[in-house]
Symmetry: C2
Subunit: 387 residues, 2 copies
């Protein structure tokens, strides 16, 4: 097991009706807040009303940034920074899914930074300070509610990039499974693909001896395999929504890669796709990940992929290579069973940008991934396999 | 899944050489510290020297409380409180295992309390404030390094009781697997029984639908089953020590019972044993737990015990009852294989205090346990089965 520091002070309020805890948290952290929301669903489904009630009870005034899109744009971040400065907001509350939370994080960092917030994404500059922020989560997917990362798309440069800082880890997050009841089947499925891929990125990496995070990864993958289809079929199944929601947070709160190297090639590859084609991140991952698995499968990696097959899918076989291949087949058929596409052409993506995207994916480090290090030509090959 | 609040801000420094982080933490939290240690092993094995070097580098003076015993005594707590007050210590560092940490917690609470610290254990008084404390862990067992509990024995009244408060959760804990190399095989085995029982107490409880904590419980039990024997056989196996050490913290840091009811009958029963006979807590648990399992096994509970058999031990069988019974057999033989006793008579305990201990175990609440609620006569029966 590798050395690590684990420090996750986000306070989680989990369960039905937990919004009632918001007021007390606001009283602790906020004199005036910016509320960030997405494209209107939280207003349509009454969640925003619940939030406003808590603001009123706590006597905390707020400004608003609305209309944050999936694959959230830098433009929204700039808007949010302007509003915060103008309104003298000292706290940000994200009410929505990962895109809304990531936008809130970038705003929180940008308000306290003299330069252009995009620097944190493109330059070797660490964000040391940010406004405190909290979240009211409405979608199980990114894990942003408990982690230190934000992914933002710069529309002008067609770059989708991430930055990370402990200064933007939410101080609290409210996770009410009932707030995810109205998520469509397709978005629920894409969220599950996103959650599972977060786990894969941590699980498929060295060292093999790190049994604690690896057994826990398998545990959370089993929850996805069991409850994912239930949540898709019956969106108001509380237990399915609850288990998937809590899994989304635990999948990316530093626990599953504590002691491990992490891979993150699939994310680097998919971010290029969604930067250019504006597809759902989870949909892109559902297509890319099984092909990444097949591409990296060799005599060295078969053992780990076979563990995945045995411990998550109960697959048996005559050797590790066979079990690994069956596990990849099973992954493909699982994502398909949730209604997700398995080919780029199904979402109208052709081979026109493969080379450009591959080169962009490796631009920062010259390669991506640690389970198997990938060059630009490797990534083109994975794109071709995904076509 | 039940509603829960999860908030674990303890900062963990995990891995070899992490003691180097102590100085910076002391600078943040301490003007003058009390260092609490046990019966000399940390001094014998050089760990105390490592700690003192960090105090010197940070320029933080310290007083000492030494000689804390297993099943730590209230008398040591009183001594520690006196030293803290006299020396004006504003921070406590526990260097040792669970007994040392629990003593440090009780001192931290007692210093800030006007009454008798034993009130927190016996009366309905909540500890609201405590000195901040950190730990340098040398034994994988209690999970006290990341939790809110302390268990102390009052020798006079022969009561071993717990109290919990978020005010005594360590602000940081340093977990170096190499610091556990000198733990004897017997104490390593007892620690593993303690860790596994913490998991059992959370796992064997309602609701059945809480898949996230339950799959993670199985994951950590599998780590114990795999690496426990390795750590016992080869005390300097870094990977075994590392995996067991991190499991000890995760087993009791609020994660495995988030969304669950918890049981805790086995702990209540064992605490009576170690209060009177001063045996190792883990040894007592290794004897009691399998008999508790057998006693609570019925048509309602078989499903969960069968899950344990299937998912942890890969046991197959013609029905849940058969798998459950085989899983209990397997638990007994596993503890035996680690060199632990499986009968009270092996550690010279007879039936002389069964009734007294059973009545004392249920004194506070009239019964113990939630998986199956136990009366005093039930507990006597479990003691008899354990004889």
């Amino acid at each position: 097991m590798l050395n690590f520091i684990y420090h996750v002070p986000t306070k989680i309020y989990f369960g039905k009706g937990q919004i009632k805890s918001l007021g007390a948290e606001l009283e602790k952290h906020a004199k005036k807040a910016l509320i960030v929301t997405g494209q209107g669903s939280v207003k349509k489904h009454g969640i925003f009303d619940d939030v406003v009630k808590e603001f009123s009870a706590a006597g905390v005034p707020f400004a608003e940034l609305t209309g944050v899109k999936p694959n959230p744009r830098l433009k929204s971040v700039y808007n949010g920074i302007d509003i915060c400065k103008k309104e003298k907001a000292d706290f940000i509350l994200a009410v929505g899914g990962g895109s809304v939370i990531d936008t809130a994080k970038a705003i929180a960092a940008g308000v306290k930074y003299k330069g252009d917030v995009w620097d944190f994404f493109t330059k070797d500059i660490v964000c040391e300070d940010a406004l405190p922020l909290g979240t009211v989560l409405t979608l199980a997917a990114t894990g942003s509610e408990m982690d230190t990362y934000a992914v933002i798309t710069n529309e002008q440069s067609q770059r989708k990039l991430a930055f990370g800082s402990k200064a933007v880890r939410p101080v609290f997050s409210i996770l009410d499974p009932e707030y995810t009841y109205t998520v469509t089947k397709y978005n629920t499925a894409a969220g599950i693909a996103d959650i599972m891929t977060h786990i894969f990125e941590e699980y498929f990496s060295e060292p093999y001896s790190a049994a604690v995070p690896d057994r826990m990864s398998e545990a959370l993958l089993k929850v996805c395999v069991h409850y994912g289809p239930v949540a898709c079929e019956n969106p108001r199944d509380y237990e399915a929504r609850a288990n998937i929601l809590w899994t989304s947070s635990l999948a990316l709160n530093d626990m599953l890669d504590a002691g491990k190297r992490g891979d993150w090639a699939s994310h680097a590859i998919e971010h290029e796709l969604s930067a250019i084609y504006d597809i759902s991140h989870g949909v892109g991952l559902a297509i890319i990940v099984p092909n990444w698995m097949r591409f990296v499968l060799n005599n060295d990696t078969a053992r780990k992929l076979a563990d995945y097959g045995k411990n998550v899918w109960n697959i048996d076989g005559k050797n590790e290579m066979e079990i690994a291949n069956k596990a990849i087949d099973k992954t493909i058929s699982f994502f398909k069973s949730l209604g997700l596409p398995s080919r780029l052409k199904e979402i109208d993506i052709g081979n026109e940008h493969f080379k450009k995207m591959a080169e962009s994916a490796i631009e920062c480090q010259g390669e991506v991934g640690s389970f198997k290090s990938l060059s630009a030509s490797d990534i083109v090959e994975i794109f071709k396999m995904s076509l």
